[in-house]
Amino acid sequence: MSKEYLLKVKNLSCERNYKIIFNKLSFNLYPRNIVFIDGNNGSGKTTLLLCVSNILTYSGEVLIKKGIDNFGYVGHRNGLYDTQTVDSFLYFWKNIFNYKKSYQAIIEYFNLNKFIDVPVSSLSFGQKKKLSFARLIMMKSKIWLLDEPLSGLDKKTKKIILKLIQEHLSLGGGALATSHERISYFDKNKVTRVKID
């Protein structure tokens, strides 16, 4: 029986500056599943995410389930303005994504109540990461592209982020994540591992 995929990557190859980054990668991302991209530094994990999101040019096929028109992306650079406060940041993205609910629940989930009027420039690395995940929630995208989502975070924050990803998967979403660490938080049957050399 063939399952309906969220994302199908077939023979994906990418070349940058006359150098082959990866060659003929194939994998499928199904609802409630997570695909981990393993590889050393500089092996092209971020490049793969950017190819999937159609930012970089590639050869091969990237098929996305009909009806999905955007990706949720969390990368190395958090995509935050230093001058914005936590509140103005959330208000801005809530309006962009037409997020109907109040973002108060998101603030509480990430324990950011105390920092609501604090400018982003004064936040720690982990708090900035939490904010970029807060934006991801408001985006309501089925497919999440996560570039090293846990790197540089403490145990408590890692747990919050992993729980959030688990909730996203349980709602029928999928995630494509790169990570140095071997994460064993998710159900083994729901995890696919793709190795880039």
Partner: protein, 220 residues
């Protein structure tokens, strides 16, 4: 779409107001440049009077050049531009709101206070109206023409000098028509103004699209 436009415009205005490097720096630089002319001419008031309009235009050009560098820099470096691209947010809105806010915070104060600057440089008060309109039609071109160049130099290491060297040849016709326009304004000839308006109309249509293409390429 309109809601999105105003949302981005408000965000950019706030960003300019809160980031002192962006707006106040350009205006301060303009005032500082302006101060140099009377100091260097000394007692030659006649010379100062003759060059008053050109001096104001040159100062406006320099303050625009200074602030152009930061037009897309922050968005590019902190990854917001990539977020916009991945989430299919129309880049036309992003580019236009950036251009408007850049003009509002670097050129609009200069336009409004240009009669005062003219008096400061011993210029003729008859030229005040002409200068006001020449700046009004000319300075948006600084922002519009500078936009694709600012996008083009995003990844470059020596961004500042490169931006200045690439921009000045494109800014020269604007300055020439702007200064000539003021001189002929009192004689009832408005040809330079028409020309500036024509360039402005074409630039508003074409340059944002060129900027969008360059920004997309810069993300690759």
């Amino acid at each position: 779409m309109i809601k999105l436009f105003f949302l981005f415009l408000l965000k950019d205005f706030k960003n300019y107001l809160l980031d002192s490097n962006k707006s106040w720096f350009a205006i301060s630089f303009f005032l500082l440049c302006l101060l140099i002319f009377p100091l260097t001419y000394g007692s030659s008031v006649d010379l100062l009077k003759k060059t008053a309009i050109a001096s104001i235009w040159i100062c406006a050009l320099f303050s625009n050049l200074i602030s152009l560098e930061s037009l897309f820099k922050e968005d590019y470096q902190n990854g917001v531009l990539l977020q916009y691209r991945i989430n299919n947010i129309p880049f036309f809105i992003i580019v236009m709101t950036k251009c408007i806010s850049h003009w509002v915070f670097t050129s609009l104060p200069i336009i409004f206070f240009s009669p005062i600057f003219l008096i400061f440089l011993s210029g003729s008060s008859n030229d005040a109206m002409g200068l006001f309109f020449s700046l009004l039609f000319g300075t948006p071109l600084f922002s519009l023409v500078g936009m694709p160049i600012a996008a083009l130099t995003l990844g470059a290491s020596a961004r500042g000098p490169l931006l200045i060297f690439l921009s000045i040849p494109f800014f020269l016709p604007i300055i020439i028509f702007g200064v000539l326009g003021v001189n002929s304004f009192n004689n009832g000839s408005y040809s330079e103004y028409y020309l500036l308006c024509a360039i402005l109309s074409i630039s508003i249509v074409i340059l944002p699209y060129i900027t969008i293409k360059i920004l997309w390429e810069s993300l690759k």
